[in-house]
């Protein structure tokens, strides 16, 4: 059971499985919101400079990530039709490039990335705390300016796992959802993608599970991205963090469900203290 205390601090994740040596190489936590018309390229540059220059001194321009999808892919089509100045995404990185803020006119994400092989995963509790601070700073900054109404829509937690392997035939040893008995000769590359609605916990959301192996990479990548609706009635910081916690919870349980017991042993799985 997840218990939320004052300011949305998560107290218990005791019933979630944890891994001493998780294969995770990147985690993104963040919020999507209704695009802010006033958060232009100039405003973005000022924002990251005003708020995060000291802690995240390196700034990199990126093309904007596509919007939340709509039925029939119409939104993606409309997004490609834009004729004005295209929206921009900014990365603000720490000096060691392990932490990264991604901000554009409709989302704010905080990423942790494994830069060196021995970099430990700092754990969700730390990322959540850091994101909560960044989100509050963002809310205050936007609230003081005429950029538009900050209306959160979806909280996202994405895990990117990398499992070294020399052959696609090793995949069933790590991924439960593929039948361990299944074999086929001459397999050069494997890609698997599953998108589902998450209705087991409220509020609802969507989850994307993607598996990709190419021999030239020497590893299998397993991505689990969970997006949970934010309570539209308030959109307060605590509501956003509640949805973030739900996304994390479902993401961890999904990872546990789709990977094998033998892989769990290799990664040091235990049942408690995922904080």
């Amino acid at each position: 059971m997840i218990t939320i205390t004052a300011m949305g601090e998560t107290k218990l994740f005791d019933d979630l499985p944890s891994f001493d040596r998780p294969p995770v190489v990147e985690v993104a936590v963040g919020v999507h919101f209704l695009q802010l018309p006033g958060l232009t390229a100039v405003a973005l540059v000022r924002l990251v400079d005003d708020l995060w220059r000291s802690r995240f001194p390196r700034i990199v321009e990126q093309p904007a990530a596509p919007p939340l999808s709509a039925p029939g892919g119409v939104l993606m089509m409309a997004f490609q039709l834009q004729t004005g100045i295209p929206p921009m995404r900014l990365w603000s990185l720490t000096e060691d490039e392990t932490l990264l803020i991604q901000v554009q006119h409709d989302r704010l994400l905080l990423n942790w990335r494994k830069v060196k092989d021995d970099d430990p995963y700092p754990r969700y509790k730390r990322l959540r705390r850091d994101f909560a601070q960044v989100w509050r700073e963002f809310c205050d900054y936007v609230g003081d300016r005429d950029y538009g109404v900050l209306q959160p829509s979806v909280a996202e937690v994405s895990f990117f796992n990398r499992v070294p392997m020399a052959d696609a035939a090793e995949i069933p040893a790590f991924v439960e959802i593929l039948n361990p008995e299944w074999r086929i000769g001459g397999q050069l590359a494997t890609a698997y993608q599953l998108e589902r609605e998450t209705t087991d916990l409220l509020p609802g959301g969507h989850q994307n599970i993607a598996l990709n192996y190419r021999p030239e990479n020497g590893h299998m990548q397993l991505e689990i991205s969970t997006r949970i609706d934010v309570d539209t009635a308030t959109g307060e910081v605590s509501e956003v963090l509640d949805s973030l916690d739900t996304a994390h919870r479902i993401g961890v349980l999904t990872f546990d469900a789709v990977t094998t017991e033998s892989a769990h042993s290799a990664w040091g799985r235990h049942d408690a203290d995922n904080s």
Binding site: P71, L75, M77, L81, G148, Q151, T232
Partner: protein, 177 residues
């Protein structure tokens, strides 16, 4: 008494502060005016649309007295994209937004009885322009899963042209004020 959807939509936003720089595509004119211009800028319209859509996202469940859900985030996002795409310059009419019980919405520009409507719902998108006499200027009502990007692009171009035409009076007010 007209319903909200039937009211003229060009007076919804407060007047911008004069003097202001008005750029009408090829012609640049410094518009110094004793009285502020009557029509909103493109930026004003986008901010107004964003505010309205944010409000519809906060509708309570059952807002229609039945099982109506709030505006879904992907439709809110798409509606703002479409308003951005269709509103090509300052001084055009202001859209009105009406929620639908299934989380979709209807966007309507109404000027002097001429009407541009975009409907977004779980079944897809439709775009329609109707002159005040009731004659249809154009219609885009594609099969849900079977239309091309070029068809959507064509419909949006039609909508842009139609909005420019029906906003002539609004535009005139901006340029002559």
């Amino acid at each position: 008494m007209p319903t909200i959807a039937d009211r003229p939509t060009s007076i919804t936003i407060g007047n911008p502060v004069a003097p202001r720089f008005a750029q009408d595509q090829q012609t640049r004119t410094w518009a110094f005016s004793e009285s502020p211009p009557a029509a909103p800028s493109r930026s004003d319209i986008l901010r107004y649309a964003q505010r309205e859509l944010a409000g519809l996202r906060r509708l309570p469940r059952g807002w229609d007295g039945a099982d109506g859900i709030p505006l879904r985030p992907e439709f809110a996002s798409m509606a703002l994209f479409l308003v951005d795409l269709v509103t090509t310059e300052d001084g055009l009419a202001t859209p009105q937004f009406s929620p639908l019980p299934d989380g979709g919405l209807s966007i309507t520009w109404l000027v002097g009885g001429n009407r541009l409507t975009i409907n977004l719902d779980p079944y897809g998108i439709s775009i329609r322009g109707v002159w005040r006499e009731g004659h249809e200027a154009f219609r885009f009502e594609p099969d849900r899963a079977a239309f091309l990007q070029s068809e959507l692009e064509s419909a949006i171009n039609e909508a842009r042209g139609f909005l420019l035409k029906i906003s002539t009076r609004v535009q005139h007010q901006l340029l002559t004020s």
